[in-house]
């Protein structure tokens, strides 16, 4: 059956409507998970709040295992879904930059908008910086172009690269994620015990 648009079940014009609906749901869940607070978000780096890790890992493993079941039941044709092309080095560097930005600014791009939605000043500053950064990068793009497009592997999946079936990765990620849930809970408890200035 799925994906709906490539299979012609609904028209291509619907992608914007679906994007808005998913965007609203995404923003709602982010806010409801407490992602509009930069303290919650940055807590993952200091060890007193791992909600980011738990929420994103939950979303990841549920989606991953769900997609495999959808494929099995014939609801989603995995060969037709879009796979983001991989650029190895730029992605690693980008990840590091993003991580630093996350610690320093207290938000990631998506969560900064949920921060704005509830009127957080720091989120407004973060978002202004975000757009300035995008603008600066666009202007300086010719400088980075060679690096930006280096290490292109195409639209590959882990299964393509390693030959290991997708369900083994799903199982491995699930086990790691669940272990992380329980492990971080203990870390959280310990760290919070020694913190006096921040109430939970």
């Amino acid at each position: 059956m799925g994906p709906l648009i490539p299979n012609g079940i609904i028209g291509g014009g619907w992608d914007f409507v679906i994007a808005i609906l998913i965007g609203v749901a995404f923003g709602f869940i982010l806010e409801a998970s407490g992602f509009s607070s930069s303290r919650n978000l940055a807590g993952v780096f200091y060890g007193y709040n791992f909600v980011v890790l738990r929420v994103f890992f939950t979303a990841l493993i549920v989606a991953m295992v769900g997609i495999i079941y959808f494929d099995f039941l014939g609801w989603l044709d995995l060969s037709k879904i879009f796979i983001l092309p991989t650029f190895l080095t730029p992605m690693i560097v980008g990840g590091v930059i993003m991580g630093f930005g996350f610690i320093i600014g207290g938000y990631c791009p998506g969560t900064s908008f949920t921060g704005i939605a509830i009127g957080k000043l720091d989120a407004v500053f973060f978002t202004v910086g975000l757009y300035l950064g995008i603008f600066a990068f666009s202007l300086a793009y010719p400088l980075f172009e060679g690096f930006f497009t280096s290490g292109a592997l195409g639209n590959v999946t882990l299964t393509d690269v390693t030959g290991i079936p997708a369900h083994w990765f799903a199982l491995a990620f699930t086990v790691v994620a669940l272990a992380a849930f329980w492990g971080t809970m203990f870390i959280e408890k310990r760290v919070r015990k020694n913190m006096k200035q921040y109430k939970f």
Partner: protein, 202 residues
Amino acid sequence: MNKNYIILTILMLVLAVGTIFLNREEEPKQIEPSKLLQEIIQPTRYVTTDQVAKMIIKGDPGLMLVDVRSNSEFEEFSLPNSVNIPLDSLLTGDNLSYFGIPGTQVVFISDDAIKADQCWVLTKRLGLNSTYVMLGGLNKWMETIIDPQQPSDDEPYTVHETYSFRKGAQMYFTGAEAEVGGSKVKVEVRRKEKTTVAAGGC
């Protein structure tokens, strides 16, 4: 410790482990539907009974005849050196390993061309090349090779040429003798008539 977390953790683990046991049937690789359609509407897959007969007689080593009728029909009558792979068991076992071998031409044979055509579409869809269909099937074979009809005198030369080839092929496949007319020749012993008149001497 929150009870819900424990339940959800176990549920997630069970679901993740369950993915390993999902019985995924490996879908065979297929060619693009548009390409298949293009191949289907072209008559290049057909070989005539004359061509098949010629190849059999010449002992073409690249020729492989695949009879797609049922086993019992195959037992009853089949072309020499043909292999029986019924249509419904085409994709089972390692039957597919017969096809797509470089240098061989697989010709599908059935009573008419319908079952053979179906087999051809299946193999083509799987991307296997050099498979053909005997046009008209065994019915046509009977009509043209086993029991060729003599063309009338005003037919073109090529028709007569084909007929003489078919006649030769008929002899090859049936062991019939040339122009016997099918009936038994009654052997009549003619005795030399007795001459009553005395042969006169000089």
